[in-house]
């Protein structure tokens, strides 16, 4: 039984068919990537899976239960968390507070406990802070804990967003182009980080344009084109699929291969 199973999912925006009968699955422990040209429907697919958009048809199964039709917060509470193509930090908060918000689904104090500062609340607050610091350390940003989120650079924002997503203790992590806007060095670090996330037992579904990163870390790749799956398989298979090369990879793959050698 796969961790995530997407069957026959379609979604249209007015006359535009953004997703057309998409089916794929992600097994526990995998790093699975979704690639495809701009406008292929990758982000839409993540939005549908994470409950931000509803699917017009199809069914989505996550950890043995159906999640299509659930609200995004219910899916998140069930163990799926994500980052966004444009990092979406809470800019009025500090870096640490951003990650502390990530502890929300794993903690419980409500209005009364928080207003009255009950002893249990004070203890929970301390645990939230410690856990958030740990996740910041994991992405290498514990030094920025007190900084306002708005003061961070683009790459750092991506990392804080990743820490926030990890703080929810997901079993499935969805990443939407985490390497875009990162330099080569940061991208290499990110690849390393995603591997370490897998070592923690977290499954990753990655949408990414950086082919050297994708080919390097993926176990399995789904190619999306005009909202439909074009090919699916291991990196070596995808790299040699003629149709994939024609519509998407083109010369980009040779560049990626070249940059890997240098």
């Amino acid at each position: 039984m796969p961790l995530l199973d997407v069957e026959n999912v379609s979604r249209r925006f007015g006359g535009l068919v953004a997703l057309d009968k998409v089916a794929f699955s992600v097994s526990a422990g995998q790093i699975k990537s979704i690639i495809g040209p701009n406008g292929a429907g990758k982000t839409t697919l993540l939005n549908v899976v994470s409950g931000l958009l509803s699917a017009d048809t199809g069914r989505i199964q996550f950890r043995d239960s159906r999640i299509d039709g659930l609200k995004s917060h219910q899916i998140a509470q069930g163990g799926m968390s994500r980052t966004f193509q444009n990092p979406s930090l809470f800019l009025q908060m500090s870096v640490l507070e951003n990650v502390m918000v990530g502890r929300h689904p794993r903690t419980r104090c409500g209005f009364a406990a928080c207003c009255l500062r009950l002893p249990g609340q004070i203890r929970e607050e301390r645990r939230i802070r410690e856990s958030a610091l740990e996740h910041l350390r994991f992405v290498g940003l514990e030094g920025m804990a007190g900084a306002p989120a708005g003061a961070l650079g683009f790459g750092e924002r991506r990392m804080v967003e990743l820490a926030r997503a990890l703080a929810t203790e997901p079993s499935l992590l969805l990443l939407d182009e985490p390497a875009s806007g990162l330099n080569n060095r940061e991208t290499a670090d990110l690849g390393e980080l995603i591997r370490r996330i897998r070592e923690r037992g977290i499954t990753t579904l990655l949408v990414e344009h950086d082919m050297s990163l994708v080919m390097d870390i993926s176990d399995d790749i789904l190619v999306l084109h005009n909202g439909t799956p074009l090919a699916e398989g291991a990196p070596a298979v995808i790299q040699n699929n003629e149709e994939v090369i024609r519509v998407y990879l083109g010369t980009g793959l040779e560049d990626a291969a070249a940059s890997q050698k240098s």
């Binding site: 995004s72 979406s88 809470f90 908060m93 207003c115």
Partner: protein
């Protein structure tokens, strides 16, 4: 950390005492009456801070919630239920002291609701109505709540104006004192003026502490996250609709509670309390104090409402609130206290770094 949290509490308590002593020394103790009223109005504004400053939602109906609290209390404590004397429910309510027999002005006996029971009824009614309005409006993203509450406020205003047993244009008068507990009576009699002033201060301070506790807590962060980026908040697992609804209902309850207290204090309530203009004034005051800063909002709104109640603004009363709103939004959208605080901090750190620079040079 603890000191930082205690500082505003001590500051506010000291200010409250200084004002009372000052008014006494100047022989202007009657100022305390309007001040007490202004503090009750400030509680409505604090509730709006919770809703607007934390959760990022606007209500244009808080005047109506204030009125629902006040009118419920006024109706229940002034109506005579003695014609139901023999019914089972009246007997049961009498046994648990919800209804009590009382001598009326003309020496007869009436059966009225105790203020405490009326207070509970007002809170329950407000809770119900706030849920009914908030639930559909807050499931959506955007400013639907502002529209829904504005419509609601207009309806409530028309109802109180047009209903005979709510006193129509005259409102309800003759609301009895509220014997809170331990000899503390909510009443406008001058003999208990100072006592009532401190009671209002204590209530406001207590609520401010609760709100301040909320800021750095799981719930406070969740509300702020919704305010900042609702989509991202949902994707992290925050039930955005429920948190917004909770914040709205809580702030409506605060408004209604203020209405109950003020109605007992002034011994009556009128239909103007439910006007849309009143609701807009509360929003203006919350903005004027800095929505995400309940301390500032409480201070600014108490001051402005006090001046308004003293008649300082004359016939331009409502215009002053409009002007305050425009000024604040164009000059200091986060409220006047925050930029002031930043400015003082910059001055201080400037002085410090200048001193440090000299030191390094020598």
């Amino acid at each position: 950390m603890l000191l930082k949290r205690l500082f505003p509490v001590i500051g506010f308590a000291a200010l409250a005492i200084a004002v009372q002593l000052g008014a006494g020394a100047l022989g202007k103790e009657f100022y305390l009456t309007q001040l007490t009223m202004a503090i009750y109005y400030a509680i409505v504004v604090m509730g709006l801070c919770l809703l607007m400053g934390f959760a990022g939602q606007v209500s244009l109906g808080h005047g109506a919630f204030f009125a629902i609290g006040g009118y419920t209390s006024a109706v229940l404590t002034t109506s005579d239920f003695s014609r139901f004397q023999d019914s089972l429910w009246a007997a049961a309510l009498k046994r648990i002291h919800v209804l009590i027999p009382k001598a009326d002005l003309y020496g007869g006996q009436v059966l009225t609701t105790t203020p405490w029971a009326a207070f509970v009824a007002a809170m329950l009614l407000t809770f119900l109505i706030a849920c009914l309005i908030g639930y559909p409006a807050l499931r959506l993203k955007g400013h639907y709540l502002a529209m829904a509450t504005l419509g609601f406020c207009l309806i409530v205003n028309k109802i109180v104006l047009g209903t005979a047993w709510l006193g129509a244009a005259d409102g309800i008068s003759g609301v009895p004192e509220w014997n809170l507990a331990g000899g503390l009576v909510i009443s406008g009699r001058s003999a208990v003026r100072v006592q009532n002033y401190y009671a209002a201060c204590a209530l406001a301070l207590f609520l401010l502490i609760l709100l301040a506790n909320l800021v750095h807590s799981r719930v406070g962060r969740a509300l702020q996250a919704i305010h900042d980026r609702e989509t991202a908040a949902g994707a992290i697992g925050i039930n955005t609709a429920r948190y917004k609804l909770n914040a709205f209902v809580l702030s409506a309850l605060l408004a209604a509670a203020a209405g109950v207290f003020l109605t007992h204090y002034t011994a009556g309530i009128g239909p103007s309390e439910a006007s849309a203009l009143k609701s807009v004034r509360y929003v203006a005051l919350a903005a004027a104090g800095g929505m995400s800063n309940p301390w500032g909002a409480a201070l600014v709104s108490t001051a402005i409402n006090f001046l308004s109640l003293r008649g300082w603004f004359g016939t331009y009363d409502n215009a002053v609130f409009g002007a305050v709103l425009i000024l604040i939004i164009s000059i200091a959208p986060q409220g006047p206290l925050k930029p002031l605080g930043l400015w003082i901090r910059r001055l201080l750190s400037g002085a410090r770094s200048a001193a440090g620079g000299e030191h390094a040079a020598s």
